[in-house]
């Protein structure tokens, strides 16, 4: 009955669990989408993971138990966000490399508003 679900401590997650979680295209897509803007929390309904509610819920669980995401229950919906900076501290460079491999440039900085073209400046 936990209204708040369990997130494992980062040092009890193994690299094997991380690789296994990311070996699925849909799950990896979620992580990449989140990692593009690591501080931004998004409703899980926006992610194109196919299947029924329980199937989708299963995938969030796999990602959660791999230490990759944090799930927050808002009562009216579930929010997902990347588990940063904990994950970076435990597995340094991993997410940056993943983003690079997927050809997705990380968001330049902490502009949390949709600023079409933000001149990176400096």
């Amino acid at each position: 009955m936990p209204v708040q679900m369990h997130h494992p401590s980062l040092d009890e997650v193994s690299l094997s669990a991380v690789f296994a979680a990311l070996s699925d295209d849909h799950r990896r897509g979620v992580v990449v989408a989140l990692a593009v803007d690591p501080t931004r929390e998004q409703p899980c309904s926006v992610f194109p993971v196919p299947g029924t509610k329980s199937t989708r819920s299963y995938h969030w669980k796999v990602l959660r138990e791999a230490g990759l995401i944090i799930q927050r229950n808002t009562g009216t919906g579930m929010m997902l966000r990347l588990r940063e900076p904990e994950f970076e501290q435990r597995f340094p460079g991993f997410l940056a490399n993943l983003l690079h491999l997927e050809g997705r440039p990380p968001v330049p900085a902490e502009s949390t508003h949709e600023n079409g073209d933000a001149p990176p400046d400096r």
Copy 2:
């Protein structure tokens, strides 16, 4: 009956296959051991992958089909070596990051000491 086995082209291997191959501790151990000294070829008998011959052979196949290793038959034994620099070109930075995560510093450079002092094999 191919005495020489098939290695897929690097651009038909998916990131999913790579992650899946590395989600196993033993397989990842092989890749890390090879990546420490990427040009060095080693007999597959040196790797501590448990199981029968066919089980071990299965794991080489998974790594081979993920584009991670090259298998060369010497008639009297099987040699494994990292699939460099092809893999690096296809998935830049991946192996370096893996080595870093496993706390294994890569061999500095051209010191491919094909002998040096004997590794503790016995």
